[in-house]
Symmetry: C2
Subunit: 395 residues, 2 copies
């Protein structure tokens, strides 16, 4: 029932230009000649379009390759210095702001620590805005060369006329972060759930590259997932799709911090694993404690493999992905030791056809990828529209 939008000839250009840019971004550098093959466009179109992009300084020449017995090919690539993007990670204990060039090379970063239960929205907004000024100064990038700011936040991000954030652990209930940011900066702002931005980072720059159907599973103290269908992050009707952690795997099962019972998170979240192992809740160094459990407690290890395998099998059956990535600090620890067992458990619990079609691997990016993924939201918009910089810098 997808009723597409009206289209005009200009949309054709926009779409083709976006495709060309994406091709150069991911498969570049490439010559005009190679681009005809990669994009399917004619040499004439490639010629005029690359001419435009060169004039706009969005792409630049990148040397030559001689072709045996003919005119050498001029390589083209996206100009990494054309613009910069900013990514922000709003987490339990810190606000981190990072500045990247278009190739996602980090140019500057700044961290502000937050005291637990001091997540006042005004404070967080001030930190973000201050952080933007700091990284721009450190990176010596003028504000009018910034394409936008992406922000990864905890909780559910409701996209509408105004972006509202519901984050129980922060005491945020419908906080209008988008409006607050617009009051403090003229840069375009993109906001999404931190687990989704991290998934987006893995999809674009990590182990998810090239996958059209994938699930990126994040296991930390909480558990979440980014579902990718047909190359696009699935959002659902109110942008809360991917809440995998509170999927129930048992009727009247273990108590979860969400208030429910039998949530997957209560079994395979870091807190759940430690609790099952009888580690006292007063422990502060969770990674170390989890490491000890994963080295010694064979019962807990066995259970963890079984529960995680079952959870992944459910994803496989329902979504039929070609690839599942396991990420998050706890996920990477678990996966490093137990991946073969997890794979076997997932296969045993899934139907044969989709089970065999799915590869289960570890994420490549560390837990620091939230800000990178948030910045990727800006990059995505830029590659699709290649909107000229002046437009928002002026506003």
């Amino acid at each position: 029932m997808a009723r597409p939008e009206r289209r005009t000839v200009r949309d054709v250009r926009r779409g083709n230009r976006g495709m060309l840019l994406r091709t150069l971004y991911f498969d570049g550098p490439a010559s005009r000649h190679e681009l005809t093959g990669l994009t399917g466009l004619s040499a004439a179109t490639i010629s005029t379009m690359t001419g435009d992009l060169l004039a706009d300084n969005i792409i630049v020449e990148a040397g030559q390759v001689d072709s045996d017995g003919g005119r050498p090919r001029v390589l083209l690539r996206v100009n990494p210095a054309y613009g910069h993007v900013i990514g922000v990670d709003v987490a339990e204990t810190h606000v981190r702001v990072e500045l990247f060039d278009l190739e996602m090379t980090e140019k500057a970063r700044v961290d502000y620590s937050l005291r637990p239960s001091h997540h006042d929205i005004e404070l967080v907004t001030r930190r973000i805005l201050a952080g933007i000024d700091v990284v721009l100064a450190d990176g010596q990038v003028p504000a009018d060369r910034v394409l936008g700011v992406g922000i990864g936040v905890p909780g559910i991000v409701e996209r509408g006329a105004d972006t509202l954030i519901h984050a129980k652990t922060f005491g945020w209930d419908g906080v209008p972060l988008g409006a607050l940011m617009r009051a403090g900066t003229s840069l375009p702002v993109f906001i999404d759930n931190g687990a989704k931005t991290m998934g987006q980072a893995e999809l674009w720059f990590g182990a998810g590259r090239g996958a059209a159907h994938a699930v990126i599973v994040l296991i930390g103290s909480g558990v979440g997932a980014t579902v990718v269908a047909d190359g696009v992050v699935m959002r659902g009707s109110s942008n809360s799709a991917g809440e995998w952690g509170h999927t129930k795997i048992a009727l009247d099962g273990r108590q979860c911090r969400c208030g429910g019972r039998g949530c997957l998170e209560a079994y395979i979240g870091a807190e759940g694993i430690l609790d099952r192992a009888g580690v006292p809740t007063s422990t502060t160094d969770w990674p170390a404690a989890l490491g000890r459990v994963l080295e010694s407690d064979s019962r807990v290890i066995e259970e963890t493999v079984a529960y995680l395998g079952m959870g992944l099998a459910n994803l496989i059956n329902l979504l039929n992905p070609e690839r599942i990535l396991i990420g998050g600090w706890a996920g990477l620890m678990i996966g490093r030791d137990l991946l073969p067992g997890i794979r076997a458990a997932a296969l045993a619990n899934s139907l044969a056809q989709p089970g065999n079609a799915t590869s289960i691997i570890l994420g490549e990016l560390g837990p620091d990828a939230v800000a990178l993924g948030a910045a990727t939201l800006v990059l995505e918009e830029f590659l699709d529209t290649s909107a000229p910089l002046r437009l928002h810098a002026a506003s």
Copy 2:
């Protein structure tokens, strides 16, 4: 990472024409003037495009409405007699072939019963081909006025160069039904899983109309789901997405006929419910037996509500649909009596934000909708491309 296809100006026309046709199909009849508002296209474009479609006889005039003090509006609608579509339901006990006009009014149907465990692919193919001839004769429709044949089959439908079908219960392991059909008819053939075609029918003509994000849940003796994201049926990487029935809801739970343990189907499939109620497996009239259980066995009722509510809550959390439809013969029986309880259980087990955003209702179409949905596959293709009839009638 969606890398779109190259586009040309002709794609613009194709897309807009498809949109116009869809608009007329679902919101028609409408005048040219109204269509400008509904499609966003200019009056000039509407004029030329409707001119084309009228010349092709794809749309027809449908009376006039006088406008106060001006030229009356000429109403346009899709010509229901422009072409016909055929839908086929290949099930455990029968092969059913139905002929529809473009408005999906049934014009003829024929049923062939299959003996259990006589699902030889050659036999089934012969039945389908014979059925096509019969309904065309009965409906007095020449073969060159048929836009195509849609077939709903059990099992997993692997779409590739050749459509292969894996249906354990039929003993089909990679059966090339597409190729076999092409050998017997020149009509275009579309094949999909029967649960998906039924979901498609609900989405287009039943309780799913207008939903962009929905899940259509089918409960019969087996359990399946059709996941709709952004208006499109989700297929996954090998077209097996939607296998909800073998989602595990308990570690080492009830034995399922798939060989696994703890599958949702083993709890809320008709067979699973009857088994939990202690109804002997020799029972032949399942619907009657299920009816008795749902009237009298309060323990089983309570459990069923709990398990189904939990299963639905998992869908809500993971997919964030705006609507969930419960269908299938057993699903309709269960839902008729227990819907309020199921809603409450689903809400109790899901996160607040997506839970409140999801409405859970019953399907509108009976279990007969498999063939209708299969025919809809052809209709969908027609509305998108409005490919002239001659092309395939000639081949």
